[in-house]
Amino acid sequence: MANELPEDFNHSFETFLENLQTGEKKDVATRKASEICLDFFCEKLPELIGGSADLKGSNNTFSKASTDLLPQKPEGNHIFWGVREFGMTAMMNGMLLHGGLKPYGGTFLVFMDYARNAVRLAALMEIPNIFVYTHDSIGLGEDGPTHQPIEHLVTLRATPNLNNWRPADVIETAIAWNESILSKATPHSLILSRQNLPYVQRTQEQIQSIHKGGYLLSKHDDAAITLIASGSELQLILSAAEALAAEGIKANIVSMPCLDKFYSQSESYRNETIAPSSPKLIVEALHSSSWHGLTNLNDTVIGIDTFGESAPASELMQKFGFTEENVLLEAKKLIQK
């Protein structure tokens, strides 16, 4: 099938993105930001078919334009897949291969493992499926280590032809969704937070760069360090950079919502974004081994290489070092090396 988007699609998306920038800037979890995006995309694209493996309310896959798809109601556009992550993903692959429909389906990131082989086949087949994975770190809190993803994003990033987005706020979430929908031959995963995250101020130029996967939020020619983060940890490097600035130390700040996409950029763009000679501190509340393609031996990754624990999210973030104080401490150690 032609798989063409409506003629005014790009223009409508630009308007939607502008409205997000002028609207109320309240803290919002990226899973909720995703739902806000779906209100736009599902209304615009009747072929976009949602679903969740029994976590509709938690994955925020049900938009204002969604209606239940039931055995006796096949005209609905949101599927109750039941607790069947692998089945859901293989069936979504089948729907996409059939043509005429564009599915997206949600579960917790930790249960991506159940679906792993069907995710892999989507990448191998070069079909642009969309996987919505919420509750993306120990930040999910009390449900504990059985529900807290650690190594999952590493295996997703290691999968050839799969773009994995871990947006930091509603603007990055909107770009991630748009990239997923525009994709012709690459499946996308959207890695979304359970907890609220602050809105990030950006210039138009910065917004135009988000689709490259990684981009500078702040740049100084004489920066002492480059701070890099994705998703929920972007706020930590932003506040750490402020604290450093107060002490007269300049830091470059890179938001990295999609490492896969960033790696596909030209060498000059990559080097311009992350100066190779600059000390680098990377913060992501998932396994650290994703990042070794960017780091030198002296650089630091603040990640989590053990299983998590059951506790309120703020306590866990404290315990595992995802605090402004720890980021600041590690940044200073790195600068002094």
Partner: protein, 327 residues
């Protein structure tokens, strides 16, 4: 003629596996008769327009039997030559070890990891039902096709087969028809020591229609397919009792024929046993002609094109959908 049609599949598969010195001859030899019942008499497809939107979808969930699919695509007239068959499993060929999605030659999905093809097939049947609900009208039904899948014992052992069959039954996907190649053998041998489910009861409990047939009796399978097509409220599983490696005097019915070439000597006596006198990779013209689906495919496709143009006239508000689907 049925015997020759099935043997054409068997020997293309046997010879390609032998030439590659690797592959799985047992399943194509065992399922060749089922393939005749489905592909010769039921499957609606157009080799000269493989992406025709209203074609029946066919999924080979037991993807290791790839030579069965390549044989069928070659014989029915897709752009898959005898040279491509001779290049089975070679670097850069159109005929890799397991089927890899290639709509230009009629391969609807990548299969091999067992059970997942069944999942894909359920998704395809669901998509058909959803699109039909959106676009079909009382007088004109542009979306109207079946989804067929071949499955093996391994597919039904994998946990995903439960997830997707349960879903398909709940949704009453009546246009999903699956053929279970019930040969009782998996790689480690006879499955009686590790897979003893009552598959009939299992699928009936999922709200499927289940029919049991002799997988080497083409007439019986044609009857079963007719019954399956009649049932619009439930998916159908046709359990086909077969012999893996059918026709091989020493290896039929054993795991030895699952994933290894038969060997020159065994091929020689298998040719005698099945009465196939032809050289490797040689298909007599009459059998090729009988298999070719070019004319029938074109004719069904043209009828549908006419229906679509009528549909676009009568339901102009839906025209954008028509354009999408035609593309």
């Amino acid at each position: 003629m049925h015997k020759d049609l099935a043997n054409a599949i068997r020997f293309l598969s046997i010879d390609a596996v032998q030439a590659a010195k690797s592959g799985h001859p047992g399943m194509p030899m065992g399922m060749a008769d089922i393939a005749v019942a489905l592909w010769k008499y039921n499957l609606k497809h157009n080799p000269s327009n493989p992406t025709w939107f209203n074609r029946d979808r066919f999924v080979l969930s037991n993807g290791h039997g790839s030579m069965l699919l390549y044989s069928l695509l070659h014989l029915t007239g897709y752009n898959l030559s005898i040279e491509d068959i001779k290049n089975f499993r070679q670097l850069g060929s159109k005929t890799p070890g397991h089927p890899e999605l290639d709509l230009d030659i009629g391969i609807e999905t990548t299969t091999g990891p067992l059970g997942q093809g069944l999942g894909n097939a359920v998704g395809m049947a669901l998509a058909e039902k959803m699109l039909a609900a959106r676009f079909n009208k009382a007088d004109l039904s542009p979306i109207d096709h079946f989804t067929y899948a071949f499955l093996g014992d391994g597919c039904l052992m994998e946990g995903i087969s439960h997830e997707v069959s349960s879903f398909a039954g709940t949704h009453g996907l009546g246009k999903l028809i699956c053929f279970y190649d019930q040969n009782g053998i998996s790689i480690d041998g006879e499955i009686s020591d590790w897979f003893t489910d009552n598959t009939v009861q299992r699928f009936e409990s999922y709200n499927w229609q289940v029919i049991e047939v002799d997988g080497h009796n083409i007439e019986a399978m044609l009857d079963a397919i007719a019954i399956a097509k009649e049932e619009s409220a439930k998916p159908t599983l046709i359990c086909c009792k077969t012999t893996i490696g059918f026709g091989s005097p020493n290896k039929a019915g054993t795991s030895g024929v699952h994933g290894s070439p038969l060997g020159e000597d065994e091929i020689e006596i298998t040719r005698k046993q099945l009465g196939w006198e032809h050289e490797p990779f040689e298909i007599p013209e009459q059998i090729s002609a009988e298999w070719n689906n070019y004319e029938e495919g074109n004719s069904s496709n043209t009828q549908w094109d006419d229906l679509m143009s009528e549909y676009s006239k009568v339901y102009p508000a839906r025209a954008f959908i028509a354009a999408k689907i035609n593309g």
